[in-house]
């Protein structure tokens, strides 16, 4: 019997270094194939819009217009790259952190913030955008991506489902169950771990002692890929390949995007308690937006006019968001009872009646 050249599973292992196509200073990594100019310019635009959206949402929290905003400042390339690597018909399963992913998907900014401003519902129609509601209970959306992919396969659609997961969420049981199901049923799923180094205050060293989160893939029998999450080009390429594998029946992939959350977890969090300023500064120098901008400018793919046009578009987006979010009225209280069951029960009808009477009295 011929000896195996590699131990089984070795081909599933991620590389020691994250895949990177563009260095932090904007120079291209030698001998690497980058996505085409159209794709990269689209990514740049999405990054700028995403960054501006983040800033606006953070400002709205400070003005008391939003209940909470978990910022993804610093992680924009991971979210933008993952979404742009998919087709619009592929499904995404985002978390509370993944507003930029939804923006990139084309969801109305006001709808993205509906949940975070404290409404009870998710704001957008998942079927219009092929995007599940932003999920708060950690990792619980991952099995949904698996089920959606299962159904897609049963319907003979070539849809891919991508689940966004944080580094902390990888410790949850549902993360494990989802990966295992996807692998056992050989489903078109991409698990996309955004390792932003902290789960609120807890560093990755307290979540896992595995060499990387991508290494976990091997135990499930699927490939794990480490990618520089601040390099939109690399994320586009890696998630693109994972989506291709999924679509062509080669099964699920676990992608870990190594990145950093520049802001605190939310406005309620004091990040200075658990991480040093120097650490943040180090990551600021790897900024994803500046990186792609430098690469595109240096390679002649972006000029000041296009840059200015995108900047103006971002300002418009922010201004429009400010005006509309503040103007938006909460839905009528009757709706509380309307969407619990397909038809409100007698009990709910009685309670709706009570609420109506109460509000008329006041």
């Amino acid at each position: 019997m011929a000896a195996r050249s590699k131990a089984p599973g070795v081909e599933l292992l991620p590389s020691a270094e994250p895949v990177r196509l563009i260095e932090a200073d904007g120079t291209a990594v030698p001998r690497r194939v980058l996505p085409g100019p159209t794709e990269l310019r689209a990514a740049y635009r999405a990054l700028v819009l995403g960054r501006r959206f983040e800033q606006q949402a953070t400002a709205l929290v400070k003005q008391g217009q939003l209940a909470v905003y978990p910022s993804a400042h610093g992680q924009e390339a991971a979210e933008v790259g993952a979404v742009l690597a998919l087709r619009p018909t592929d499904w995404i399963f985002p978390t509370y952190r993944d507003s930029v992913a939804l923006l990139t998907r084309g969801v109305d900014p006001v709808e993205i913030l509906t949940l975070l401003r404290g409404e009870w519902h998710c704001g957008y129609d998942p079927y219009v955008h092929h995007a599940a509601p932003q999920c708060t209970p950690l990792a619980t959306q991952a099995p949904h991506a698996v089920g959606l992919a299962f159904a897609a396969q049963a319907r003979h659609e070539d849809t891919v489902a991508l689940a966004f997961v944080g580094d902390g969420a990888t410790s949850e049981g549902d993360f494990h169950e989802a990966l295992n199901f996807a692998a056992v049923f050989h489903l078109p799923v991409v698990f996309f771990v955004q390792n932003n180094q902290y789960a609120i205050s807890v560093p990755v060293s307290r979540q896992s002692v595995a060499p990387s989160f991508a290494h976990k893939a091997v135990g499930y029998g699927m490939p794990g890929v480490l990618v520089d999450g601040n390099d939109a080009a690399a994320v586009l390429s890696v998630v693109g390949e994972a989506a291709r594998r999924a679509r062509e029946g080669e099964g699920p992939t676990l992608v870990e995007a190594v990145t950093y959350r520049i802001d605190a977890h939310t406005n309620a969090d004091d990040a200075t308690r658990y991480r040093p300023d120097e650490e943040v500064a180090g990551w600021l120098s790897r900024d994803p937006v500046a990186r792609l901008s430098a690469y595109l400018t240096n390679s002649g793919q972006l000029n000041v006019d296009v840059e200015a046009a995108i900047a103006a578009e971002a300002e418009d987006l922010a201004a429009d968001l400010r005006t509309r979010l503040v103007a938006e009225l909460p839905p009528p209280a009757d709706e509380l009872f309307a969407h619990v069951y397909h038809r409100p029960t007698q009990r709910l009808r009685d309670q709706a009646e009570l609420l109506r009477a109460e509000s008329e009295e006041r």
Partner: protein, 321 residues
């Protein structure tokens, strides 16, 4: 009853290709209670299949499937092994319609053998209906007859909301002469199983048989008891319950789950609120004790039996009538 459930699943699989049956050991083995016996062989391993051993994964996968147009029917192997899936059930199964303002509904069924009386070791005899009934967004049903096991399950699979389908495991082997499909009342309707004039026994699932036996025995005492089978815990048919108790003026609610903060408590409170002026006595509850489900050697102490029901009936202030 086991056969009726099997028949219902088979008919659903045959009629609607969006239906999938899955869980632990449901494929080749046909389930530990053989409820899914033969389904994989007949409808293929894509339609009825074994999953990895993970309840949260099973229910979570069903959520994604239902989001994408399927009608999954999943089996939890035993009542007390559904708890790992509890988060999926409470956070997602129950809330998806609400969270999406009505745009995403989850037509799915979670079947679970439930209740005691079969001499099971620990974790095999829980009555967990109150957890589900307490969660807005879930429909919760429990059949007590063979016809209902079939009819309610067919209705559950066709229902636009997620249904928790509680199968009284001690009735699995109960036999009745019924030709299936037999016509049954829809979800949301309670049924008077035995008319009577002196008091109403309200019960569901395995306790219906106990109530019927108690009503039979009560004849010797000179009491003519009505038995109402709740069938659908959520939505609850308040009208039928209230009408019965207003007619009889007395009520005992029978259920084997611990009584504190239970479905029986809810029904008793409801009857007190809605029937107070028609009542000749306080509404009584006969339930299991507020203890972890006991060992097989002691479970007969815990489960409401005919004696205990009759004792409660005896306290309904008959002398004042």
């Amino acid at each position: 009853m086991a056969q009726a459930i099997n028949q219902a699943l088979a008919d659903c699989l045959a009629e609607d290709e969006r239906v999938f049956v899955f869980g632990e050991d449901v494929g080749t083995l046909g389930g530990v209670f053989r409820i899914t016996d033969g389904l994989a062989a007949k409808y293929g391993e894509r339609r009825c299949f074994d999953t990895p051993l993970a309840e949260s994964g099973i229910v979570g996968m069903a959520v994604g499937m239902a989001m994408n147009g399927m009608r999954p029917v999943v089996e939890m192997q035993f009542d007390a092994f559904a708890y790992p899936a509890f988060e999926q059930i409470v956070s997602h199964v129950a809330k998806m319609r609400n969270r999406t303002r009505g745009t995403v509904s989850l037509p799915m069924v979670i079947r679970a053998p439930y209740g005691g009386g079969i001499g099971g070791v620990e974790h095999h005899s829980d009555s967990s209906e109150a957890y589900y009934a307490h969660t807005p967004g879930l429909t919760v049903v429990a059949p007590a007859t063979v016809a209902d096991a079939y009819g309610l399950l067919r209705a559950a699979v066709a229902w636009p909301d997620p249904v928790i389908f509680l199968e009284p495991k001690r009735l699995y082997w109960s036999k009745e002469e019924v030709t299936l499909p037999a016509p049954t009342e829809p979800i949301g309707r309670a049924v008077v199983r035995r008319p009577g004039t002196d008091a109403t026994l309200v019960a569901y699932g395995p306790s219906v048989q106990v109530a019927l036996a108690a009503a039979e025995a009560a004849r010797e005492e000179g009491w003519d008891l009505e038995v109402v089978d709740v069938r659908s815990i959520v939505p609850l048919d308040e009208q039928t319950l209230v009408a019965s108790v207003r007619r009889t003026g007395r009520a005992v609610v029978v259920a084997e789950a611990p009584g504190f903060a239970s479905v029986a408590s809810e029904i008793a409170a409801l009857l007190s609120e809605r029937c107070f002026h028609a009542l000749s006595a306080p509404v009584r509850r006969v339930t299991g004790f507020d203890i972890p489900y006991p060992s097989p050697k002691l479970e007969h102490h815990h489960l409401p039996d005919v004696e205990r029901v009759l004792d409660a009936v005896a306290t309904l202030q008959w002398e004042d009538a």
